[in-house]
């Protein structure tokens, strides 16, 4: 009995040591994964970190064609997924755009002098309407992030105008 206890204790100590060493190593590796983002709590991205560093652009580019032309939205290589996971938050829960200075995307691309234009069209923060967010929250437990600065001018209401010649029945 005493033997078993001693053995158990030894195993525990060893485990703690190994895990601690791994954690320390990981902490040395991680530089641009922003603290407070979901990604910071995970062991690795959708693929091993080394693979992602070299190939993330290929994954996203392939995925975009699958999504736009074939409508496939279930795969794990989505840009929306990248943003959801890598975005960080200020103290008042406002998401910080991933392409802002020093943030996950910008930090590395700035260093590598690569100009990405994803965010000319794509939102750089998770940006959902209230209904959509409620559904996502029910399904995946996501937080609701209203679009930043929702108070834009309303677009005009119904417009009357001709469709072109011969549109009249």
């Amino acid at each position: 009995m005493a033997n078993a206890v001693v053995r158990g204790c030894l195993v525990c100590v060893c485990l703690v040591g190994v895990l601690g060493a791994q954690a320390a190593q990981a902490a040395g590796d991680v530089d641009l994964v922003i603290e407070g983002s979901k990604a910071a709590q995970l062991d690795s991205c959708v693929e091993p970190t080394e693979f992602m560093r070299r190939n993330h652009m290929e994954l996203i580019k392939h995925q975009r064609d699958e999504t736009v032309h074939k409508g496939i939205r279930s795969t794990k290589y989505s840009l929306a997924g990248c943003i959801e996971c890598h975005v960080s938050y200020t103290a008042d829960e406002t998401p910080v755009p991933v392409d802002a200075e020093g943030q996950f995307c910008n930090g590395c691309h700035e260093f590598a002098a690569v100009d990405v234009n994803c965010f000319g069209c794509h939102s750089s923060v998770p940006s959902y309407t209230e209904n959509e967010a409620a559904e996502l929250a029910a399904k995946e437990g996501l937080k609701w992030h209203p679009p930043l600065a929702m108070s834009g001018p309303e677009t005009a209401g119904p417009q009357s105008g001709a469709v072109g010649e011969g549109n009249r029945p």
């Binding site: 409508g71 939205r73 930043l148 309303e154 677009t155 209401g157 119904p158 009357s160 029945p169």
Partner: protein, 258 residues
Amino acid sequence: MSNNREHVNRSRRHFIGTAAGVAAVTVAPGVVLHSLAIAEPRSEGVTDDVRWGMLIDSSKCADGCDACVTACNIENGLDLQQKPDGEVESKWDRQVAKWIRVVKVQDNLTERVSNLPMMCQHCEHPPCVDVCPTGASFRRADGIVLVDRHTCIGCRYCMMACPYKARSFIHEAVEVKLTRTPRGKGCVESCNLCVHRRDNGESSTACADACAAEGNNAIVFGDLKDPDGPVRKALAALPSRQIREDLALNTGVRYAGV
């Protein structure tokens, strides 16, 4: 004493069991419906087994109602477009992207007025696809005509080619956009029949939902290839026509009451 207690317990169990059964029967359909409503995103490519389309009954389209336009603007983030500082209001109104325009047509002889919510007609033979020099404008297998912004160079040939004036060009940088509808300066866009809803397995579009919520039910959305579907049933029941049917584009959006 102990015998008595056992009796009580048994009847309690019986009651609780019955109650749980009744609750399950009452709640289960709701749970099933709910899980259908938020079905899993699509994992296999779209096929031509379906062709999405709409029937718009303009006789039910209430004069002055803009529920479909407003719903579309919110669904697709069109209300997030911002007028640049110093832009003239009338010019901005012409330039701002709109996916649905309510077109009012009047018969000069009888003076009968019809309201037509006019959007991309999702043609089987779309002129915008014919003229696109980069292949950005394309027709998806399930009949949705849309623009791949990754390959759109903003030449606007498609806008010239479209007989329905359905497409818009994004003239200004867009600061705020929704995750589901990317939007940026220099690309053309138009109604995509709420393609994100199609891919997530939802059954309707924002405009059809809004119209039904208003009680007008002028817009019926569904699969044109499904003989038992709502659109085919409505098409069978009502005389309908395509706008500019002389062009033989075989549009996916049909109009009744015009």
